[in-house]
């Protein structure tokens, strides 16, 4: 790179080399390089770490109905995503008479995650064990993915039904899906809100007002 020939080179014993000094000024080149680096840095780094993906398989409408009917009520948790980042859930079959069957929780770690982890404790433990084995290089990557999939679709794992109200935001949906990922829940489905769920929510808001009204009639 350097185009500089120093004087007083003693290598050539017999032959006499012509002594000359050539100096090339690098400053413009460095300037240009810096400029290009700045350009590339500004154009790339902003977006690079943020394009991450959450892949979400959804089923055909008719298949979903089939699967829903297969789910045991005892293993089902229904999440209702409301407006203002509110989150409600009920386990199993809702009790339309009792407004307390619908419970409110939050997207915070001590809210939904705690609930799901408690329900899915066994699977989470197994997955963590597998993860440990994988880091110890006892099992291969493929085996790990396969076994995790097996655990996730295991018999005693809960099924989560996510029902997002129109008022909820996209962020709510993603946080809910995120919790599924964290809590190793393999069976979850996103469906539309049914009329009954709206009733439950209204009933909850009025603390059983609707049931009382019906009872009065």
């Amino acid at each position: 790179m350097s185009a500089e020939v120093q004087e007083g080179g003693r290598k050539g014993k017999g032959t006499k080399q012509k002594k000359m000094a050539v100096r090339v000024d690098f400053t413009p080149m460095v300037d240009m390089n810096m400029l290009l680096i700045t350009f590339f840095m500004l154009c790339t780094t902003l977006i690079k770490p943020q394009t991450m993906e959450l892949s979400m398989p959804t089923n055909d409408k008719d298949i979903t109905d089939d699967q829903k009917s297969k789910v045991k009520a005892s293993q089902a948790i229904t999440l209702l995503l409301g407006d203002d980042d509110k989150l409600f859930y009920y386990e199993g079959e809702p009790n339309y008479q009792d407004y307390t069957s619908l419970k409110e929780t939050s997207y915070e770690p001590e809210g939904l995650r705690k609930l799901l982890l408690a329900r899915n404790a066994q699977a989470v433990r197994q997955v963590n064990e597998l993860k440990q084995q994988k880091t110890d290089l006892k099992i291969s990557e493929e085996e790990y993915t396969k076994q995790v999939a097996d655990i996730k679709s295991g018999k005693n794992t809960p099924t989560v039904i996510i029902k997002a109200l129109d008022e909820s935001s996209y962020e709510n949906l993603v946080s809910a899906l995120d919790e599924m990922l964290i809590c190793q829940i393999g069976k979850y489905v996103i469906t539309d809100v049914a009329e009954g769920d709206r009733f439950l929510l209204k009933n909850y808001e009025t603390k059983g007002g609707l049931t009382k009204e019906i009872a009065m009639q």
Binding site: C43, M52, S55, A164
Partner: protein
């Protein structure tokens, strides 16, 4: 000085090799964050950009595909595009104009297009679901296409539901939601 120029050349090479350029998007979208660490593939992506007020834009990563999709859409809506219009469509990174206005839109210069694109959007309602047609034709042109939804965190779910239902009608059941990585990894 030599050392410094060496370093700058090295850095430059690094950035040139690793860079993927930021796509120009008509609207600024803040994606929600998640812990998912799956990287999105770089090719064969049909990106659906959803803005909080419900405007939908799309982008394809391959220019020949864009041309073919535009031709198919033109066929469906009975519009013929001139080669000049096709060229302009191809070089635009994102599209999202109702077909009725597409021809006029493509006659505009690139700067004018940028100016009005964010007021447009692909119609996606039951009466005129052009969004579905776009996805269907894009799928027909490139069977390996992966659909990625990039929506703003504040988008009401009703709009997302509309998009998802349209995709479901087309039997596009696997798609990706583009999210940002959550910085604090708990759990």
């Amino acid at each position: 000085m030599t050392a410094m120029s060496d370093v700058t050349v090295l850095l430059l090479t690094f950035f040139m090799l690793t860079s993927t350029f930021v796509k120009k998007e008509p609207v600024q979208v803040v994606t929600p964050s998640s812990v998912s660490e799956i990287k999105i593939p770089e090719t064969d992506i049909l990106q659906i950009l959803v803005e909080p007020s419900g405007k939908i834009f799309m982008s394809l990563d391959k220019q020949p595909d864009m041309k073919a999709v535009l031709a198919k859409m033109g066929e469906e809506y009975g519009i013929r595009f001139t080669p000049e219009q096709e060229r302009k469509f191809m070089i635009a990174s994102t599209f999202g104009v109702p077909m009725q206005r597409m021809s006029n839109f493509l006659n505009l210069s690139a700067e004018e297009q940028d100016k009005i694109l964010n007021t447009q959007g692909i119609p996606c309602d039951s009466s005129d679901n052009q969004f579905k047609s776009w996805v269907r034709h894009a799928r027909a042109v490139n069977p390996d296409l992966r659909i990625a939804i990039k929506a703003d965190a504040d988008t009401p779910y009703s709009i997302i539901k509309n998009v998802m239902n349209s995709l479901q009608d087309l039997r596009e059941n696997r798609y990706n939601l583009i999210t940002a990585l959550k910085s604090s990894a708990e759990g």
